[in-house]
């Protein structure tokens, strides 16, 4: 059995891995783990990832969680073009810096934006107070601005002149609030131009394919009570 990637393209980190693997022609079996149906909570999946999260990787007997670790694993194993994770000490450090920063900042904001704006009210049927939503969107705004001011600045891509893992992780995060109807690129021409460059570097078809599901998040049918009960505790823990 070759490389298996356990993904749900609803999830931002899964999209980054999907795009990276496809773009670099890395052969893999896609194992879809349907988050909406709670498949990540199954006993079968916990054999792959006891932490019960996607993405997860299985390569023979070797299993791995955490998208950043998975991206780095694929980078090293499949010897992808240098620009994804440059050999140059300082350029590589810039990628590491972004990948470390984003966990508690942009990722968190993007996740909360999707859940507070769409997933709670539409999918889980749970109302979200206007204050909570406003606070979440304000926080998102701050982090998107930091992305532009501190990381992108006047460069073509986040870590330098070429696309890297940092851009892939960032763009897939931003598509979360985009899927929720937030216009994160509005009034941000620099960031919008960067988004276009990233999409062009990845390939428009692959980019659209990876984002098909998130862009339809508003149309998800409401969860049935059993599923809702199953998902709620972990959702609440995830977005706090």
């Amino acid at each position: 059995m070759g490389l298996e990637l356990y993904l749900d393209l609803l999830s931002q980190p899964c999209r980054a891995i999907y795009i990276f693997a496809k773009k670099n022609g890395i052969p893999f079996e896609l194992r879809t783990v349907d988050l909406i149906k709670g498949q990540h909570l199954s006993d079968a999946f916990s054999q792959v990832n006891p932490l019960k999260k996607v993405p997860a990787l299985k390569d023979g007997d070797f299993t791995l969680s955490e998208s950043v670790a998975i991206l780095l694993y694929l980078t090293h194993k499949y010897k992808v073009p240098d620009h994804w994770y440059p050999q140059d000490l300082q350029a590589r450090a810039r990628v590491d810096e972004y990948l470390a920063w984003q966990h508690t900042t942009l990722r968190r904001s993007c996740l909360r934006a999707l859940w507070h704006k769409v997933m709670f009210p539409v999918f889980l049927g749970e109302p979200v107070s206007p204050q909570t939503l406003a606070a979440t969107l304000a926080e998102l705004d701050v982090n998107v601005q930091l992305l532009e001011d501190k990381f992108l600045q006047n460069k073509a891509f986040l870590a330098g002149p070429h696309i890297s893992l940092a851009d892939l992780v960032a763009i897939t995060e931003l598509m979360h609030p985009v899927g929720a109807g937030c216009q994160v690129f509005k009034g941000r021409p620099k960031l919008a131009a960067w988004r276009n460059r990233v999409e062009a570097a990845v390939g428009e078809d692959l980019f659209q394919e990876a984002h098909e599901i998130i862009l339809k998040a508003k149309d998800f049918p409401p969860a049935d009570p059993t599923t809702k009960q199953k998902l709620m505790p972990r959702v609440l823990a995830m977005i706090q």
Binding site: P50, L51, F62, L64, S65, E66, S67, V68, A69, L72, Y73, H76, K77, Q87, D88, L89, Q90, R92, A93, D96, E97, L99, A100, W101, H103, T104, R108, L146, D149, K150
Partner: protein
């Protein structure tokens, strides 16, 4: 110019005091020029960088940025790191933030012993996995414990509700459980028989609640034993020195807290 040009090769230069090394990326780096490390050892990520640098005799100037005095918000520091967070590294003109990125940078630039960040694909992945996981699952609950149990009561004069405390304690215990069952398991260290960056980052995070008199190592003898191994690998003297300021936090006179800092809190 030198003897060989592969990774780790040293070069003799016209200036005999100038030591250069190649880390494999093709560029030559000046090894003996001191780094600037902007830190306050109250912060766990700063302790990881401090311990690692001292352990490997990496030349650096300790730029003390006092969290308790609100120094991260000073104009001078904002120029270094507009995010106002610690630690930051300055290597000539190159400024780097995020302790994980800094640790990886130091490993590569100073060619530290390979067990800290092993070259084996699978073993390295385990380090990367922990380093990624810990941001949300580990660091946040440990920090929260100090805020809720020590800082908020000391600063505001009010205790935090029992419900909130219980919730945070549960979070910390859950993180520790995951750490033990998924990352440590029955191994000596996270990657196996030798200490790595993952153990260093884990231990400094786990020490954080000590400031609030919460001993995270009491939950499990396995974790307690692991901690002793990590401390011994680092060197008890260095470990204690790095944690001195943290352990004294509870005794600090919070009435002298800078009003700006108090407001931010």
């Amino acid at each position: 110019m030198g003897e060989g040009t592969g990774p780790g090769a040293l070069a003799r230069h016209r200036d005999p005091g100038l030591q250069l090394a190649s880390c494999g990326c093709g560029a030559w780096h000046r090894l003996n020029m001191a780094l600037e490390l902007y830190m306050d050892l109250l912060s766990a990520p700063c302790r990881a960088v401090y311990i690692f640098s001292k352990k490997h005799d990496i030349p650096f100037n300790f730029q003390f940025v006092d969290l308790l005095k609100g120094h991260p918000y000073n104009k001078e520091y904002i120029k270094i790191n507009p995010l106002r967070k610690l630690p930051s590294l300055k290597d000539g003109k190159f400024v780097l933030t995020e302790s994980v990125a800094i640790l990886y940078y130091l490993c590569r630039k100073y060619s530290t012993p390979s067990h800290w960040y092993p070259p084996d694909l699978h073993i390295r992945a385990r380090v990367d996995e922990f380093m990624a996981w810990q941001h949300v699952a580990f660091q946040l609950p440990m920090k929260k414990m100090v805020w809720l149990k020590l800082l908020i009561p000391k600063i505001t004069g009010e205790e935090v509700s029992a419900e909130k405390m219980d919730h945070t304690v549960a979070e910390v215990k859950n993180s520790l459980k995951l750490f033990e069952e998924y990352f440590l398991q029955d191994k000596m260290f996270i990657t196996g028989d030798q200490i790595s960056l993952a153990d260093l980052v884990a231990v400094v995070e786990m020490m954080q609640p000590m400031a609030a008199n919460y001993n995270a190592f009491l939950n499990s003898s396995k974790v307690a034993e692991w901690r002793m191994r990590v401390e011994l690998s680092i060197g008890s003297g260095l470990f204690r020195e790095a944690h001195n300021r943290l352990m004294q936090l509870a005794d600090w006179d919070f009435s002298t807290l800078d009003p700006v800092v108090k407001e931010k809190i």
